[in-house]
Symmetry: C2
Subunit: 372 residues, 2 copies
């Protein structure tokens, strides 16, 4: 049993009393057989889940819907969760505050959206040149990441847990070839988060556009480039129809983790069975989400290349080298000004160094020598 | 909603009636508040889970224990599962038969152990030069794999589901360097399954040794080589202490999936909430298991190299090329003699071809250019 599992076990044991309660009907005549159904009391909870995604957004919004469905089914309807797409109950990027204040009990999103609340949140979603999906999940579940994540969120009365991963994200769509670092100078690119700061260090400007405006901005030359997610979602956005577009593999989000945050006071009031049901639904969604991305990205990459003549390029080594160096500067800046970021990044980096040693004789060999 | 999810949903809806039952106490005086606890009837199930692993075997046996624990907690003890290590209730490799016959309701193991019952089972655990963990899970959950797996097991009155993955497995420990294909000739290697047939085609002999005998056989020269799992388990077996040992990355099990099989009649008699609890516990274990392997293999690879002077080698390209060709011959042989294997392998191969196209611009780029 892991350290954090053990701690959780002990914490939850003290709450377990609430889950019983068949004494309520003791002495009440019934048709029970000695080996037949016994009778339990139960309490029903009606919760709200806000999300950072448009309603039923492909894969990510579907994951939110599935988590709610699985929890309701597993709990026989004792924990009913109403899912709200971004903007339906509150604006999409106010989920952290809303769940912290108890306006909603849950938010389905990604931790880097809350960098303004606590910079260290970013290390739990995506770090430029950081870890991929399999490694992030290993760090979170088995490398001490979850304990740090819980420590970071506790002062906000929040409990975080991983609920999915997008897998490796693409580097974006550009209106010209990127042959040298100087091609990034003056580039207006729609790219949020740490990645955006890296582009700014490289002499470009990081522009924020709401999802619905990106295509038009790209087509009209308001922006020169944009990243989004991967082939499936990028295809749905139609970027391939904007003229002279070059498509590049990514560097800034190697395996973005999505998160479920829960109001801590509300979570601790749940009986232990419902707490475990929530944790299991989130973990099931993790596996489902990553599988959906792998499978759909597959199909849509082929559509883009074969049916839509998308020019798939690669960043030259020098460009990647420069982006890596700028990424480290951006991270160093976050870490040097925020003690919790320093603590989290130390754990992240140490795990990453070791897991890369193992990857060199396992997954790297797989992709370069076994699968090809 | 996926095709198989929808089918399952419809099937389970017809069983859902059994899950209700508060009418039993209608009219019985109680202290309930209008918004307070309601009362449900319940039925308790006591199940047996056999496993192919030694009791509490690191990660794999722990996964079996955790699945049972999570199910019991989520169900408030309504589904209690007693876990038996291999040999405790039945011999380790008789789980398929035992669950099919209802001697136990569940078995935690790996599908390739049942190749004697149905050769196609092998494609759901590990295929030489096949898919890795992330790709296997995507094929199973989102690429039609699970539907074929269910179809394969239904005639045996069994329901299968993935419950974990070992990640990439190592190629094994050798008492000499493998520089050319001819070094495999006459080699006595402990290696089961399809990998063993490949070694035989290469002119070696595939030897079966029970786990407890491998070290002694290797040390005494009864065998020249052995594979096991990866750095963590290999370290625990102490292979590095046998003289003149060279350690090679793998090719025969790029991402072995472990499985939970359930007696289908027993599963269909469960109310829908318990069915969903079982499915969620298995999925949670999938994520946990792979994370544990990633994390532990990390730590123990460094121990092997830094503290125990293990010589980490690599198979030369020519050797891998020959092993790949022999692997295809072994697979073609299975597929040509068993129609269900043909059907499963066609789905496997088609998905693999597409996912490799996506991997070439995502995970392969990650391991070769982003993480290094």
């Amino acid at each position: 049993m892991k350290q954090f599992e053990r701690r959780r076990f002990l914490k939850q044991a003290s709450l377990a009393a609430a889950a019983g309660g068949s004494a309520l009907i003791a002495g009440c005549g019934s048709t029970q057989q000695p080996e037949g159904p016994s009778i339990r009391s139960s309490k029903t909870y009606e919760w709200k889940m806000v999300t950072t995604w448009p309603p039923h957004f492909p894969i990510l919004g579907e994951s939110a819907d599935l988590v709610a469905k699985w929890i309701e089914e597993m709990s026989e309807g004792r924990l009913k969760i109403q899912v709200y797409g971004g903007g339906e109950l509150i604006p999409p990027l106010e989920g952290f505050e809303a769940v912290s204040q108890g306006v909603a009990e849950m938010c389905h999103g990604a931790a880097y959206y809350w960098a303004g609340k606590a910079p260290a949140t970013q290390f739990f979603s995506a770090v430029p040149f950081g870890m991929n999906s399999q490694q992030m999940n290993a760090w979170i579940l088995s490398g001490g990441g979850l304990e740090l994540w819980e420590e970071l969120y506790a002062p906000f009365d929040l409990v975080p847990m991983p609920v999915g991963s997008t897998g490796f994200q693409m580097g974006g769509w550009f209106n010209k070839e990127i042959n040298t670092v100087s091609d990034l100078k003056g580039l207006k690119m729609r790219i949020p988060g740490l990645g955006g700061k890296v582009i700014a260090l490289a002499g470009g400007s990081a522009v924020l556009s709401a999802g619905g405006e990106i295509y038009t901005n790209l087509e009209r030359g308001v922006i020169d480039a944009t990243e989004w997610i991967g082939p499936y979602h990028d295809y749905l956005m139609g970027f391939y129809k904007a003229a002279k577009i070059y498509y590049y593999p990514g560097w800034h989000e190697p395996g973005t983790v999505t998160e479920l945050i829960i109001n801590k006071s509300a979570f601790e009031q749940l009986p232990r069975d419902l707490q475990q049901i929530v944790r299991s639904a989130a973990a099931r969604s993790y596996s489902w989400t990553l599988s959906e991305f792998e499978s759909k990205n597959n199909d849509y990459l082929q559509k883009l290349i074969q049916e839509n003549n998308v020019r798939l390029e690669k960043f030259p080594d020098d460009v990647l080298k420069a982006l890596r160096q700028y990424s480290q500067e951006v991270i160093d800046d976050v870490v040097s000004t925020d003690p919790m970021s320093k603590k989290v990044y130390e754990s992240f980096s140490e795990f990453r160094k070791k897991v890369t040693g193992w990857a060199d004789v396992s997954e790297k060999i797989y992709y370069t020598e076994i699968s090809s």
